[in-house]
């Protein structure tokens, strides 16, 4: 259960990595090293050519992974091994179009069959009741995003079609730019919590242990993407880089693995 995995962790940090970078085997190793470093859950992003919600770092990661030959079919071959090698939830992030190629229902069922527990679709329309019902029937969490600019009415709509956790976007733009002030984020999270019992995790633009601590004062978890991928892409040993980066973010002193 994704919600439990987050709530049961004193410091729930969810790393985001782009699948297939530098290669599929490396992704598997990175997943295991992130688990060892104390991740609460792991989000893997499926590369897409036109990633509308992503900043420069994740765009680059996407394009490199596609260039390296990433395919959904190739991913399907590895997913089962990845999920069985860790005891924390694996969540897939994908833009909607690649999921539609063979039918969303079929693709999500295949994820579920391979042990994936949740899915994030950043360009899902705010009214996505059909896909929400589909996910419920399939047995996979549909994690929804809420932005600082999301109106109350839309927030209610989105949160009523959400499971696993609510993903609070802490920037006004794409990943890695236009950070909101901590006070704004706190108010945003409080607003969401007034509407749901689901855990609320904050993502977009988090890059320091201090930020992680600040956010965890009011949120249930944080997601770290661009910062981690930048380190992974810039290091000759991505597996160690992933581990060390996450350790730094979670910080010393606190026991990370229960």
């Amino acid at each position: 259960m994704i919600a439990d995995a987050i709530k049961n962790k004193t410091k729930a940090v969810i790393p985001y990595i782009t699948a297939g970078l530098p290669g599929m085997d490396a992704t598997g190793e990175i997943i295991r090293s992130l688990r060892a470093a104390g991740a609460a859950a792991i989000e893997i992003g499926l590369p897409f050519s036109d990633p509308m919600a992503d900043g420069p770092v994740l765009q680059k990661a996407s394009h490199l992974a596609l260039k390296n030959g990433f395919t959904l079919e190739g991913l399907m071959e590895h997913l089962g091994d990845w999920t069985t090698s860790i005891d924390i939830p694996l969540i897939v992030m994908s833009y909607i179009n690649p999921l539609m190629r063979r039918g969303i229902g079929e693709t999500l069922s295949r994820f579920r069959d391979r042990g994936v527990q949740g899915v994030i679709i950043p360009d899902l329309p705010s009214d996505a009741r059909e896909i929400h019902a589909l996910c419920r029937d399939i047995g996979i969490d549909l994690i929804r995003l809420v932005a600082p600019t999301t109106t109350l009415q839309r927030q209610e709509e989105v949160i009523s079609q959400c499971s696993g956790f609510v993903y609070a976007v802490s920037v006004k733009g794409v990943t890695g730019v236009r950070q909101c002030l901590p006070g704004e984020v706190a108010r945003q999270v409080q607003g969401i919590k007034a509407m749901t019992d689901l855990p609320v995790c904050i993502g977009f633009g988090i890059s320091t242990a201090e930020q992680v601590n600040d956010m965890l004062a009011f949120a249930d978890g944080v997601i770290v993407g661009s910062h981690l991928m930048e380190r992974i892409m810039g290091d000759p040993n991505p597996v160690i880089a992933a581990h060390d980066t996450l350790r730094e973010l979670i910080g010393p002193g606190i026991e990370s693995i229960r």
Partner: protein
């Protein structure tokens, strides 16, 4: 005047044209799109707004644009009579000014500071830079490096008008990539910027809003054609890139079942993958740039490389209403290739003294083919969406030898 922009029931309030359209965007963008939708719904039937817009259409754009009977060309084909709706005579040389003025006025009313947009051939960019200068807004235009090289005069025009032209070097460096970069810039600051999209594409409310602003073309044409000939045209023809000039002409005629309607997509060099941009002809439904529609995509769901000699038609997606009109079989979507378009470019120039935009030349090319198959008492109305001044250097360089230009 009050009901002018009102009389179409689509899209629904979520922006769907049947299964197509909608708003597939990250939540950071949805808030601002809701604001634009709300602001547009408030002004679209507002007397004062419409009076202001129509005064500009008349005194600034030069509307109504005339309809011209292309007698020599019709004679040459020996069949149906070809008429041209002369959007090429508009200020800035294309239909794009119709939706740019509408969007610029709206942005101004919403208190925005900067208009941003993508452009392919540069026509939308020029029109938007023009509208921005007129209403007093800043303007940033995103344009693929390849198109910048091909459409130099328009790049210079935009700069003279005070716009910034941002060269897009990602991907294939053409229209799709310019849309990606414009969206990214927009997401970076949706508060002070207004994304004045260049066609009937993108998330709700853009396909509806751009169509509404363009629909003046068909409303004028319907009346003008009746006055000229005593009846409605038997056939309508328009080129389809994103589909704005086509929706502009078609909308007023959709309920006239006796009028046959053709949308012309570019088949480029061939209908082989990567050599065309015939989205409705060969695409499959998908989601790109915030809306669901037919899309040229590979089996993984990534958009395919597209190509056309006409930069403004070079897009792997198409407006969602066109997808619905295809499924409903209300509009027939056909193709014309590079060489047919170039032939038509010279035919129209040499038989009628009108140099068309390469985009519009695709519509002319199909109209010529169609005319040849029809009786002399039949009529074809072509939307001549733009003039070819922007294309002359490129055409002379690439095809000039074959046509005795160089």
């Amino acid at each position: 005047m009050k009901t002018e922009l009102k009389s179409f029931q689509l899209p629904d309030e979520k922006g769907y044209f049947g299964p197509y359209g909608g708003s597939f965007v990250p939540p950071q963008l949805q808030g601002v799109l809701d604001e634009i939708t709300q602001a547009y719904m408030e002004i679209k039937d507002d007397e004062q707004f419409l009076t202001e817009l129509h005064a500009l259409y008349k005194h600034y754009v030069g509307r109504p644009s005339p309809i011209f009977h292309a007698r020599s060309l019709s004679e040459k084909m020996g069949g149906a009579q070809i008429y041209l709706k002369r959007e090429d005579l508009n200020h800035t040389g294309a239909h794009k000014i119709n939706h740019c003025l509408g969007q610029a006025l709206l942005a101004k009313k919403m208190g925005k500071q900067t208009l941003i947009a993508e452009t392919g051939a540069g026509q939308h960019g020029v029109a938007l830079a023009t509208a921005a200068a007129l209403v007093g807004l800043k303007c940033d235009i995103y344009m693929g490096e390849v198109d910048i090289a091909k459409e130099k005069p328009n790049v210079i025009r935009m700069k003279i008008l005070g716009a910034r032209v941002i060269s897009v070097t990602r991907g294939t460096k053409t229209l799709k990539d310019a849309v990606d970069e414009a969206f990214e810039a927009y997401l970076g600051d949706p508060i002070t910027q207004f994304y004045a999209i260049g066609s009937v594409v993108g998330p709700h409310p853009f396909p509806m809003m751009v169509r509404d602003f363009q629909s003046i073309v068909g409303r004028e044409a319907r009346q003008q054609f009746r006055e000229m000939t005593g009846s409605l045209p038997d056939n309508l023809v328009a080129c389809v890139g994103g589909g704005s000039n086509a929706m502009g002409l078609f909308t007023a005629f959709l309920d006239d079942e006796e009028v046959l309607i053709y949308g012309v997509e570019p088949s480029g060099l061939s209908l082989r993958e990567g050599e065309h941009a015939a989205t409705l002809t060969l695409g499959k439904p998908g989601v790109l740039h915030g809306f669901k529609s037919y899309l040229l995509q590979d089996e993984k769901g990534n958009p395919l490389k597209v190509y056309s000699v006409a930069s403004g038609l070079d897009y792997p997606g198409v407006g969602p209403q066109h997808s619905l009109l295809k499924d409903l079989e209300r509009v027939t979507y056909v193709t014309a290739g590079d060489s047919e378009a170039i032939d038509a470019f010279f035919d129209l120039s040499r038989f009628e003294g009108i140099i068309p935009a390469l985009e519009s030349a695709h519509a002319v090319a199909f109209a010529l083919k169609l005319a040849g198959k029809l009786e002399k008492d039949k009529t074809i109305l072509v939307n001549l969406s733009g003039r070819g001044d922007k294309d002359i250097d490129y055409v002379a360089e690439t095809y000039g030898k074959d046509y005795g230009v160089v």
